[in-house]
Symmetry: C2
Subunit: 339 residues, 2 copies
Amino acid sequence: MPRAARRPTIVDVAQKAGVSKSTVSLVLQQSPLVRAETRTQVREAMADLGYVYNRAAANLRSANAGLIGLVINDLRNPFFAQFAISLQMALSARGYAAVIANTDEDPNLQAQVVEAMIEHGVSAVILSSAYGGDDGVFEALNRAAIPTMQVLRKMAGQITGFPFASPDYREGGRLATTHLLDQGAKKIAFVGGLEGRSVTEERLSGYLSVLDARAMEPLILTGRSSRGFGREMARKLEDDYPDVDGVLCFNDQVALGLLSGCAEIGRRVGTDFKVVGFDDVEEAAEAWPALTSVHCDIAGFGSSTAETVLDWLENGMVPKTETRTPVTLIVRDSSAGTN
Amino acid sequence: MPRAARRPTIVDVAQKAGVSKSTVSLVLQQSPLVRAETRTQVREAMADLGYVYNRAAANLRSANAGLIGLVINDLRNPFFAQFAISLQMALSARGYAAVIANTDEDPNLQAQVVEAMIEHGVSAVILSSAYGGDDGVFEALNRAAIPTMQVLRKMAGQITGFPFASPDYREGGRLATTHLLDQGAKKIAFVGGLEGRSVTEERLSGYLSVLDARAMEPLILTGRSSRGFGREMARKLEDDYPDVDGVLCFNDQVALGLLSGCAEIGRRVGTDFKVVGFDDVEEAAEAWPALTSVHCDIAGFGSSTAETVLDWLENGMVPKTETRTPVTLIVRDSSAGTN
DNA sequence: CTGAAAGCGCTTACAG
DNA sequence: CTGAAAGCGCTTACAG
């Protein structure tokens, strides 16, 4: 690495352009006060010197660091990853940078990374929280007066003042279950998701409401939200619940695992045994058979979250306490098989 | 959001603890100069006031912001995502935060996000570059004297002074091809990857070297590195190259797509038609049939990259110009079928 | 439209 | 071991 000398500052630029540093600062802020001619002189000086703006210094006076914190419980899951990516790209497009951290569902790690982000002076935080842990994280954000949005998972918490947004999971559960019934399923199971967690409860409640209305018995097999669990369930369903002819999976990971498991045991999916996933990750369309799934438009949700937060920051528009975005069902071969 | 008053500063802490702000600063830096008793007084004052360290301010004097930039060409690919996550988590564990940006293979976006990171005062950058574009990004990093590591993809560039590290792709290509031969394959194709790109060339060169040594004819079908492309190739191979009985895919995305495609057209994989992937993403083990793949230990590579960069930053240990980490072949049913 | 001065919250020599 | 002073690179009133 070339050991460059000190980076040029606005003082250097001012000197080179023959103006005061205040003027340079105004140019930096695109102030209309500066005469066009002066502005171009200053810009030229900056270009000549290879000047780069020092946001940390600016922030010291003016507060807005242009850094946004993004804390996610499980970035390995493509659903969350896609959310994070589209959010980050939307922030970048508006001139903000994203500090991103994966907490691996660990509340202690979460507390630590949030603390670090506060120290770094993030202007806002977007949090898809780990379950468990106390309210410490929220209290810290509260004390630091950092605008914070909860997304995707609503924490039990009594903690108010943290607007929440997520896709309408309950409606998704309803759509999927209704679809399975429409396809002729007689016995529908709900597979995956851990009990007591808000997302599970919401997705489940949609499923239950539809079955209730028709006085049908539910069958709930909760478990990890992983491919591995889905795969195990293929065998279990065949062995222990042979009458089940429709499955609503907690998410696509479980569903894709279930498809793998069915391939493994040679059970055909799509006609006598229908499977629906949830999230509609990219892979759902590319699996074989292609997976029917509840589409949450997670990419759109990511970028709209960015807009919401920046509107809050820049224009003081406080988000609604709770926002639910619409979901749709994308029907593919796994539940409407022609294979 | 409660509109908290001004955040407490070291001056407030100093006043409360009855010491000077210099002393508070020393406590913050864990200086051994401060008497234990004083230290605890100061710490208590901090706790009482809910003091949080302002890194931006500190950075203004001392340079090390504790922010590391991570610029990735395609975060949607689980291989890169896994790399980014494990790198970020290793940085967090050592007290650094990661500013992460996806460039979607767009050199212009890349230039923009790197510029933004420089403004934010990142202490180092880790870059898995987009192909194409000029050397502007490297020049900017150079001018700003920001230690920068290139990873995973070596840019053609004449640009030196940017240490590079990646798994040993060439060796991976060799291992995979040798394995296919050992399994009895007579005609082996290389599928996926765009020509002229360094990663493709390296993986390909391993494949070619093995075939050359046995005077066998290569068959190269380059293309996008996506599931979709892999899926298309299933049909094409069956139709146009029925004699191909072994396939080395550019990466797991292509390979998983190929498996899907084979399922779709009812071609059995593992015995007469063997498939090997590259990267060994998590899903490889869970597909059906399970996918043989070149394991790059990308999680380990991510955390060791973090160590390397922090050693550079903290201890001035400049990384080697080029590092290649070992790879292994994980043999599964897709190439050694018992199905 | 532009400049001189103070201040943002820290760290860093330098005294003591 | 601790304090007073200067300074990091900006922005922000305030004059002019």
